[in-house]
């Protein structure tokens, strides 16, 4: 028998592997709607998340508005109130906040780390369609009297299946974006050098991957009991088992990318390198770690609110946000900020987030006892004070996402947002967020003083008005993007870009980049500009 000394070449070595990193690029792309349906291109998927997530956001916020209006003037039947309340919560987080953040992440992380595509483009596409179909099923389940604690048996089952599909899809999309930043960075772009938005995506996606599976675990248990069991073991009070997702500290996980967006916007608009990058990265990571809330499930552990861990985390989380705010302030002071709409949105998002985290710290302090008093509909799960926190955080995400949308508009849409409308949206959004959230915080305290309980109508009504303003702001943001100007902005559209997304065309070409030289710092564009100045 002949013995060969060298191993025969394998198929893979003879023919280079099919570059699935270019799935969905024009030479494979039939174009138009058919092209979009089959695309694995991160840019198409990102924009689809942003548009549809915003539409779902308008719906979810409208339900929140209805709920508070109902509390003020009682015009809806009891069944509907429960469903409006729970769909407002579920929709606000899983159909709006997380998908919109994922949309920005899917579009931007490959551009920021110098990659040609998102990791696992087919999985990213499957995740998007799974999320969309799941969201549709979830809304359909509500429409036929489903949702947690709903009346229709099969409709409730459908709700759980749909919710699980939405969760699995969002988790898959999270794996794609976090893997992009971890494993697909261009040479020289160490993990400590990635733009802070990409870093916040790493933190946020990690936290989603560590906490949202616990929601999935709850859903499996609820579904099994509801469908196969007696329905008495767990499914007797279903939303109580899910309420922890919408309370502190778990609620903060949806706001982690906001810190990254604001950091990138502030540093770029200030025209200087971010001061103390290491501190900022630590602050974002600490905010993520302290927002881990999967252990704090009062349905299984009613005394969790007495635990030192819960109280400690709830108070300590204020520190990273304060640290980040200080970092932004120093950066703005050391540069010459260009005060345009992205910066205004960033300011609003930061203010709302700081306020909600401060209010959350008050919420966990035991002697205030803000957990007990609640709306009759949902008992102890989400008292009015927690409702106020929810609206503040959702408004912060709305403004944070708007900051991202307007800041990266040249990349996303190939034009700038219409500045006057965007500025108006920033103002309306900030005022709306404050007016939506603060009255409920006051109401939380007022419930403890018998004389003030009469203020319920006024405070809930005010909150409804605030929520309406947030809706108006979201609409204005999209109008400003639709009415934008500048047909072909420069690659570095703001003229002061720092990270790699500003080296490619606006909007980026297929494949995103040509050959990128090795990156030598966290702000490669500033390096290039400085070396040009020096020569």
């Amino acid at each position: 028998m002949a013995i060969t000394e060298t191993r025969p070449a394998t198929v893979a070595e003879l023919t280079p592997p099919e570059p699935d990193r270019f799935v969905g690029l024009p030479d494979h792309d039939p174009g138009g709607f058919a092209g979009f349906i089959g695309t694995g291109d991160h840019k198409g998927l990102g924009i689809a998340y942003l548009v549809l997530g915003s539409l779902f956001g308008l719906g979810a916020l409208t339900l929140d508005l209805l709920f508070h209006a109902e509390q003020a003037s009682h015009f809806l039947p009891k069944d509907s109130i429960d469903q409006i309340f729970t769909l407002g919560r579920v929709g606000g987080v899983f159909l709006f906040a997380i998908p919109v953040c994922l949309g920005l992440a899917t579009y931007l992380t490959p551009l920021q780390v110098g990659a040609n595509t998102v990791a696992f483009p087919r999985a990213a596409a499957a995740a998007f369609w799974g999320w969309l179909v799941g969201s549709g099923m979830l809304i359909a389940a509500y429409a036929i009297n489903g949702g947690p604690d709903g009346g229709g048996f099969k409709a409730v089952d459908l709700f759980y299946v749909a919710f699980a599909l939405v969760l699995v899809s969002l988790l898959t999309a999270s794996v794609c974006v976090v893997t992009t930043v971890i494993a697909m960075r261009t040479p020289g772009l160490w993990l400590t050098r990635v733009p802070l938005f990409s870093w916040s995506v790493v933190v946020a996606a990690s936290l989603w991957l560590l906490t949202l599976p616990a929601v999935l675990a709850n859903l499996v248990v609820l579904y099994l009991d509801h469908h196969y069991g007696t329905g008495a073991a767990f499914a007797a009070d279903q939303f109580a088992h899910l309420g922890w997702i919408f309370g502190v500290p778990q609620l903060y996980v949806i706001a982690i990318p906001v810190l990254g967006v604001v950091s990138d916007v502030v540093a770029t608009m200030a025209g200087v390198r971010q001061n103390q990058r290491g501190v900022m990265m630590t602050a974002i990571a600490a905010f993520g770690i302290l927002s881990f809330g999967a252990y704090a499930q009062p349905a299984f552990d009613p005394l969790v609110w007495n635990q030192a861990l819960y109280v400690g985390m709830g108070v300590l989380i204020l520190l990273p946000v304060l640290g980040a705010v200080a970092g932004w302030a120093v950066t703005l002071k050391s540069g010459k900020p260009s005060v345009q709409s992205p910066l205004l949105f960033a300011f609003g998002a930061a203010a709302l987030l700081l306020l909600s985290v401060a209010a959350g710290a008050v919420f966990v302090i035991r002697p205030f006892d803000l957990h007990g008093a609640g709306w009759a509909e949902k008992g102890f799960v989400l008292p009015p004070y927690a409702g106020g926190l929810f609206l503040l955080v959702v408004a912060a995400v709305t403004l944070g996402a708007s900051a991202g949308l307007t800041f990266w508009a040249p990349k996303l849409f190939g034009r700038f947002a219409k500045e006057s409308l965007a500025r108006l949206a920033a103002l309306v959004g900030l005022v709306g967020g404050l007016v939506a959230g603060l009255p409920l915080l006051v109401y939380g305290f007022a419930l403890k003083a018998s004389g003030l309980a009469d203020a319920a109508k006024f405070l809930n009504g005010t909150s409804a008005v605030g929520t309406a303003l947030v809706i108006v702001a979201l609409v204005l943001v999209w109008l400003s993007l639709l009415g934008g100007k500048g047909d072909a902005p420069a690659n570095d559209a703001w003229g002061r870009g720092q990270s790699l997304e500003w080296t490619t065309a606006s909007p980026p070409v297929a494949g995103n980049f040509g050959v990128l030289p090795p990156v030598e710092s966290a702000e490669p564009l500033l390096d290039a500009a400085e070396s040009e100045d020096a020569s």
């Binding site: 394998t10 198929v11 893979a12 999935l216 494949g511 050959v515």
Partner: protein, 204 residues
């Protein structure tokens, strides 16, 4: 001329993208995150299980409903089966690292066979337990074991896909990401069963 950050892109729109630079570890990193998320599903469920169990034992004194027997012999055998499958999985990884393709296929086959045996053993165990879904205990035990079966099937599908890819000659000693990733997911599945074995079958 050395490329700078602004030059090549300006000339790019008409140019085709260059061939991809080698991106090591992408599948491995993605799988690690996916495995972490899957493990967290079980951690969440075990948390619920332990919390409900503690409350019930404090109230009633026992955990399992009367008439329900949870044997330990079968779960022990299942654990041994899976531990052996982990070993076989590592055999596959080590074989592909040495470009030993025959042993890779053999090891993947044996691993899959052991996982199939594990699923059969689960079926037998369920028939012995006579546990209905009418109680908290039934719901939780079936939620955990059922999800474990689902994870096993996912791990098997992953390994089968990677097996086909290695049959197509895609993996070599220099590039064996796929097999390593399937192994990582496989070991996390075994770890999850070990957790369930201890929490449900040993502790009872």
């Amino acid at each position: 001329m050395a490329a700078t950050l602004t030059e090549p892109v300006a000339a790019l729109p008409s140019a085709a993208p260059p061939p991809p630079a080698p991106r090591p570890r992408v599948l491995l990193v993605g799988t690690a995150f996916a495995a972490a998320a899957t493990v967290m599903v079980f951690v969440g469920m075990v948390g619920v299980y332990l919390s409900v169990r503690t409350t019930l034992i404090a109230d009633v004194g026992t955990w399992l409903p009367s008439g329900v027997i949870v044997p330990l012999v079968q779960p022990n055998m299942m654990l041994f089966t899976l531990l052996l499958s982990s070993l076989m999985m590592q055999w596959a990884v080590s074989a592909i690292k040495n470009d030993d393709r025959t042993n890779t296929y053999l090891a993947i086959g044996v691993t899959l066979l052991l996982a199939f045996a594990f699923l059969v053993e689960y079926g037998y165990l369920f028939s012995l337990m006579k546990l209905s879904m009418d109680s908290q205990q039934g719901v939780l035990i079936y939620a955990l074991t059922g999800a474990n079966i689902a994870m096993t099937i996912v791990a098997m599908i992953f390994l089968i896909l990677m097996g086909f890819r290695s049959l197509a000659g895609e993996f070599t000693s220099r590039h064996y990401d796929g097999i390593a990733a399937a192994a990582l997911y496989w070991h996390s599945m075994v770890a999850v069963y070990a957790l369930i074995w201890y929490v449900i079958f040993v502790t009872k």
